[in-house]
Amino acid sequence: MPSTVDGRLVLELERICGSASVVREPLELLTYECDALPYVREAPAAVVLPGSAEQVQEVVRACGRAGVPFVARGHGTGLSGGAAPVRGGVVIGLSRLNRVLDVDIPNRRVTVEPGVTNLEITRRVAPFGYYYAPDPSSQQVCSIGGNVAENSGGAHCLKYGFTVHHVLAVDAVMPDGELVHLDSAIADATGPDLVGLIVGSEGTLAVVTRAVVRILRRPESVRTLLAAFDSIGAAGTAVSEIIAAGIIPAAVEMMDALAITAAEAAVHPGFPAADAVLIVELDGPGVEVQELFPVVETICQHAGATSIEVARDEPQRARIWKGRKAAFAAMGRVSPNYYVQDGVVPRTKLPEVLGRIRQLEARCGLRIANVFHAGDGNLHPLICYDEKVPGQAERAAQAGGEILSYCIEAGGSITGEHGVGVDKREFMASMFTEDDLDVMRRVRDALDPRHLCNPGKVFPTPRLCGEVPGPYREHPIEKAGLGERF
């Protein structure tokens, strides 16, 4: 059993970071009791806010000496409870490590501390015509440290990949307190891809204190269209035909009728009333976009589009995206509460799985809106419920679990971008065999033999009393209008 924070460890943390950087007041600790998965709540025993990598290192060493578990936390926007505190443990808040250390345009890379927000990188390099590609919709507020831990995606990862494709190197404090530099910043470190292992390990293998990320040249041209269809199947056909034509769009997003209604009510993007709308965006050299965009238009027409709107200018494009990006928050217009899932299916299984979701909707008596990254088969079903109606919240959570089982049966995954965290750890056993998980555990044991680094995440564990998967509740950040789910 791990130890818990005692007076001696608190004194030690205060010595390392200064007493003002150690949070012990119960009211202040409430801020840290959950991330954006609010049903898992556990006030930490202490929160420490180091101001340098060396302080992180000393904090990890102090926790190690005391045998106390620790959880690294960025800006708390994670959707799977990856930064949920461990009972009696320490939360290492990395928000003060928020410096952009180096903007290196000639080498197309930026070096940042983990508390820098995703969008800050693009802001810093935009004047030079560059951007940072991974774009989770919480990008205004989410931290790069969290992106690295979760291997965050976004709307444009069909063409540009995930965080793991854009992180060149990390500095990390390992669970034994070693501060290591894993260098592939100068291309091609020798040996196993440890950066690739740590990215997406959900904070269970190391605390990243610095990341070197790749930035990309802005594409010369971007064109976006909005196509309406009278069935999800027809929209799905259009997506398949675009791919079959050898075109990899920068983004392909789909929304169903309920999601369209909600978005219209919330932000009035001017979407047509339809059973499905498809947003297709192409980017690249002007000549290429000019050549391929008409092909996409023709494919949409042949697939039965009832209307096609091509964004003439940037404001029109922004309006289309606003409708898409507002879809989650907009659910508040049609339902008091909603629960979001993050399953993935092979793109071609979308119609089949969406059909099953429709049947489930009829069976469970809850409306389910669908907003998803159609290009890569990443579903975000939004299950509407009213927590004031007894039993609805539980039914919503059950429906979410059922949708994940459809995804697994279709050959997909239980999470495309939100992570396993606490939320989905019990589903890991339905996606992986005990032998698969055993090898992952051995890798974990090799780097964190005492299980002090974010324990209780990713791997299935027997549930504790009273701990049940719960429904979605709005996070304070969303309430404040600072972030949206995507």
């Binding site: 015509g129 891809d193 791919i243 391929l292 992986f432 998980l437 044991d445």
Partner: protein, 414 residues
């Protein structure tokens, strides 16, 4: 080694593991001949072999196409060479999903031939070809890396045979998936030191509709580096930007997309750098085939090195200094990415001194490793160089996954 080769051959484990034969001279790695060569016909057999080897503490080397076995340290005695070349099936090709699963022993060429039926491919163009498993284990790529990345960037799922005799998987069949640790990344670049790769799932790309290449020659390194920098600053999107040198430097800039866009971009690139000849069609294909052959042919030694992209002029200056007068050097590299091969030819002492001089310039070049090199050179210069922290961490993972230390006979970086 206490057990005789004949006794090994009698093991019941081998009875169900495909073809078994004594090692031949052609199987030798740096002169070390394996005692037995096994060619399993099923993934399950690979797992059984590794489990057996671990229990009996038999040194195992996994071989795919054998094209890169010369890389790495001279091995310790090898008991068992496990060859994957009978595991060549394409297990699934979901063309509409742009994914495919293939057994590790298929060559990239075999795999791509199968994918071509749907005008799709795995855009890995390592000069020496090799198998799918070998490509992952070495994370080797070629000029197209500029656009498409290395095998680890395209790998979405992997099945491994472990030293406890099991078959395990990580990742999956979908392009977007963050469930569990990404063991596919872990085995990328592991050189067979952690587990045997038995099959892999990749995200695929459509085969481009057209190709064109701009070939330009520059008399000095500043002019070449300037051209590369201006390409990088432009919004053109080539699939490969290669440099060959020292002077005169040759620059190859390849475009591959829809026909009109390919043509227009190649012309724009020529206008931008102010020189060059555009090649198309069969001539273009042939030029890249020759380029590949040149990169895979060697006498002397081939080194691999990396640098910061903007450091290219200094790197070229360093290489020019190395060239004379005792031996010859030639760089073939990813001009914008900062990675390349350096072919060196001269006497052993000179070649060893080149490795030392490059490693002494860690401010400019890193990850200087020996690839193809005579065994005598491997004795004079560490093949892998210092791995730093990565060596310690990877060592810990190695002990967890291969506790008896039977995999790879000491060849690999870990």
């Amino acid at each position: 080694m206490s057990v005789s080769t004949e006794a090994l051959r009698q093991s019941p484990v081998l009875a169900g593991c495909g073809m078994v034969r004594a090692g031949k001279n052609a199987d030798a790695i740096d002169g070390v001949k394996p005692r037995l060569v096994v060619e399993p016909e099923a993934a399950r057999e690979v797992a059984a072999l590794l489990g057996w080897a671990s229990r009996e503490r038999l040194a195992v080397v996994v071989r795919g196409g054998g094209t890169r076995l010369a890389w790495g340290r001279t091995p310790a005695p090898i008991d068992l060479l496990v060859c994957t070349r009978r595991l060549t099936r394409v297990l699934a090709h979901a063309d509409a999903d742009l994914t495919a699963t293939v057994e590790a022993g298929a060559t990239l060429e075999e795999f791509n031939t199968a994918l071509a039926r749907h005008r799709q491919w795995l855009p890995i163009d390592a000069p020496d070809g090799g198998t799918v498993g070998g490509s992952i284990a070495t994370n080797e790529s070629g000029p197209l890396r500029h656009r498409y990345g290395t095998p680890r960037d395209l790998l979405i799922g992997v099945q491994l045979a472990t030293t406890d005799g099991k078959l395990v998987k990580a990742g999956g069949n979908v392009v977007k998936n963050v469930a569990g640790y990404d063991l596919g990344k872990l085995v990328s670049g592991s050189f067979g030191s952690l587990a045997a790769i038995v099959s892999a799932t990749f995200k695929l790309l459509p085969v481009p509709a057209s190709w064109q290449t701009l070939v330009a020659t520059f008399q000095d390194r500043e002019a070449a580096a300037h051209a590369i920098a201006s390409l990088g600053e432009s919004q053109l999107e080539p699939v490969a930007v290669e440099i060959v040198g020292p002077a005169p430097y040759r620059l190859l800039v390849r475009f591959a997309t829809a026909p009109a866009a390919t043509k227009a971009q190649t012309e724009q690139a020529r206008a931008l750098i102010g020189t060059g000849e555009i090649i198309t069609g069969d001539a273009e294909t042939a030029a890249w085939r020759r380029y590949r052959e040149r990169a895979s042919a060697w006498s002397g030694a081939v080194l691999r090195l990396s640098w910061l992209p903007a450091g290219l002029p200094e790197v070229l200056a360093l290489i020019e200094q190395l060239a004379q007068p005792e031996g010859s050097v030639e760089l073939m590299g990813r001009a914008s990415g900062g990675a390349g091969l350096l072919r060196i030819e001269g006497d052993l002492e000179w070649m060893a001194s080149v490795v030392r001089r490059l490693r002494a310039r860690a401010d400019l070049v890193r990850h200087v490793t020996l690839r193809y090199a005579p065994a005598e050179l491997k004795e004079r210069a560490d093949v892998w160089g210092d791995l730093g922290h990565a060596g310690t961490l990877a060592g810990a993972v190695k002990r967890a996954l291969d506790p008896m230390g039977v995999l790879n006979a000491g060849r690999g970086p870990i």
